[in-house]
């Protein structure tokens, strides 16, 4: 396994653990209205801590692989993964936008809409810049 592959495993396990820990009570309560700011921050901090500890452990036991940079295959696989993740992110942002509009929360709706529009502007602008650079 390459270091990048191990890194993906660590992130997947950490995120799954944190997500189950956070969302299970909400799922049991059958409501998305529960939860607390502190719990969200706690979950985010827990994720970072697990990922850092995981990477330190790997670096201790396999220092050679930890030194290696991502090669072209790692980068291509990472791009495919990013693309799949972006579909999920986009779908949830759209769901959030719809919910904010239904609730009349225009501040949240505007922020989510700005995120959607902004990411599209960055994506297409970046693509055009690369096309221009390579032509």
């Amino acid at each position: 396994m390459t270091f990048k592959q191990v890194s993906s495993w660590i992130a997947l396990i950490a995120m799954t653990w944190v997500a189950v820990g956070y969302f299970l009570p909400l799922f049991k309560a059958r409501s998305l209205d529960g939860g607390a700011t502190a719990a969200i921050f706690g979950a985010m901090i827990m994720f970072v801590v697990i990922v850092v500890i995981g990477h330190v452990v790997v670096a201790i036991f396999a220092p050679k692989s930890a030194d290696g940079e991502a090669d072209e295959r790692d980068k291509r696989i990472a791009l495919y993964g990013e693309r799949a993740g972006s579909y999920a992110l986009g779908a949830f942002v759209l769901a959030g936008l719809a919910l904010a509009l239904i609730d009349g929360d225009m501040r949240m709706a505007n922020l989510l809409f700005l995120g959607l529009v902004g990411s599209e502007i960055i994506k297409n602008g970046w693509q055009l810049a690369l096309y221009r650079r390579d032509s």
Binding site: M1, T2, Q5, G68, D71, E72, R73, D74, I77
Partner: protein, 84 residues
């Protein structure tokens, strides 16, 4: 990743070059051992640059290392048979 239409002789060439290991070849190309293994199993088509580097390590022309099996490339075959 899905299998590619690029066949290769890397395993044979490694054997002919002092039984070079995948790790040794990977180090000289600047990729991971797993990438060399994926290329050998035709699971990953390397970049043109990496392909040239592999050929350079074995000191042979590119077509001694890689060959393109167009018959295995279904998408290409479909486009080729399309009437103009």
């Amino acid at each position: 990743m899905a299998s590619t239409s690029i066949r290769n002789q890397i395993r044979l060439l490694r054997f002919q070059h002092g039984e070079m290991t995948q790790g040794q070849l990977a180090e000289r190309i600047g990729v991971t051992r797993q990438t060399i293994a994926a290329i050998e199993k035709c699971k990953y088509a390397p970049s043109l640059e990496a392909a040239f580097r592999i050929a350079a390590v074995f000191d042979v022309p590119l077509d001694r290392v890689f060959e393109y099996e167009s018959a295995d490339d279904r998408d290409f075959q479909k486009r080729r048979q399309k009437p103009v």
